[in-house]
């Protein structure tokens, strides 16, 4: 899973360029450092939000089940900082120019993927071993002839739509 995450982030890095990926890298590092401290305040913020929205009765304390746990709070803070870094990178940093920027972006993207995995995975996969149960029958049911036909039709429609959009409309004759 970590390899897949690194590969996906590397591909995104290729598209986004090194400058944007460096901003995201700062976000990931900052998120990793701030999250354990910032997580303490998440239950308070959530409880205040619930009160403000009138989800809890006046004077009553919010139920413990409704508040996020320590690990979830960590992930929330990390996720917010990470998202903010992506938005900042996209808004303030120019898109990549040249192969060098894209190549370095791929490397930094891969590093970002590793760091994200390093922070997120230990908080999601707590047990020494995690087993995913996949229903074979349910998986096979997704490949029914109906779904295949739908995929074929959608592919053709998208392709034709793209082609029609790409073919510039004829010039209008001037009166």
């Amino acid at each position: 899973m970590l390899n897949i995450l690194i590969a996906v982030c590397a591909v995104l890095g290729l598209r986004r360029g090194v400058a944007r990926e460096l901003v995201v890298l700062i976000g990931v590092i900052l998120g990793s450092l701030v999250a354990p401290t910032g997580a303490r305040y998440v239950p308070t913020v959530v409880a205040l939000g619930q009160k403000a929205l009138g989800l809890t009765k006046a004077g009553a304390a919010p139920s413990a089940a409704a508040l996020p746990s320590g690990k979830t709070s960590d992930l929330i803070v990390f996720g917010l900082i990470f998202l903010a870094s992506i938005v900042i990178a996209r808004t303030l940093v120019k898109p990549p120019k040249g192969i060098a920027s894209r190549f370095l972006g791929t490397i930094v993207g891969g590093v970002n993927g590793y760091l994200i995995g390093r922070f997120v995975f230990p908080r999601i996969f707590v047990e020494p071993e995690t087993v995913f149960v996949v229903s074979g029958l349910k998986a096979q049911s997704h490949f029914s002839p109906g779904n295949t036909a739908a995929a074929v039709i959608v592919f053709i429609i998208v392709l034709i739509g793209l082609g029609i959009r790409q073919s510039s409309p004829p010039k209008k004759k001037q009166a």
């Binding site: 429609i157 034709i160 029609i164």
Partner: protein
Amino acid sequence: MGPIEVLWGSLIVMFGLIGLVRGFLREVGVTTVLAFLLFLLTFFAKQITQALDILIALVRISPPDSVQANLVRYGVYSAVIILVTFISYQGETLTFEGRPVPGPFGIALNLIIGLWNGYLVIGSLWYYMHKLDYPIALFGLFQQPLSPVATVMVTLLPEALIPPYGFLALAAFLIFMRVIR
């Protein structure tokens, strides 16, 4: 005659080459007509079968499920498909307005739409041949059994794979795109 899947593939490649020459905008017009035809053939399949049964009774071929009777049925189906295909390609065709898509993408698009039209036409001819238990065997043009590849390919033919409303959706989309341009 070689394996039917080889013949089928070769004919579809021919359509692909025709698509390359004619271009995407002309080929899409053919797709519109073919999608509408296949919608009619699949949606009214029951009524068409009944009408063909009446035709078989009129020409007095017995028994009604004989190879000769199926040959007549197949003749009608193939005549309709070939006639509509000919009309959609020949003369004043339903062409979409615009300029050809430039570059490699345009070439790929021409080829794919040509191949798709070939799949619709040749695939439909094979489908009805299969449905009627290969009546061309009467002339020694076909020998059972189908190869393992052909057995799989039969399940992927247009009418076997796509429901009537799929063809209708495609035709409606194309007509809509033609109108809004």
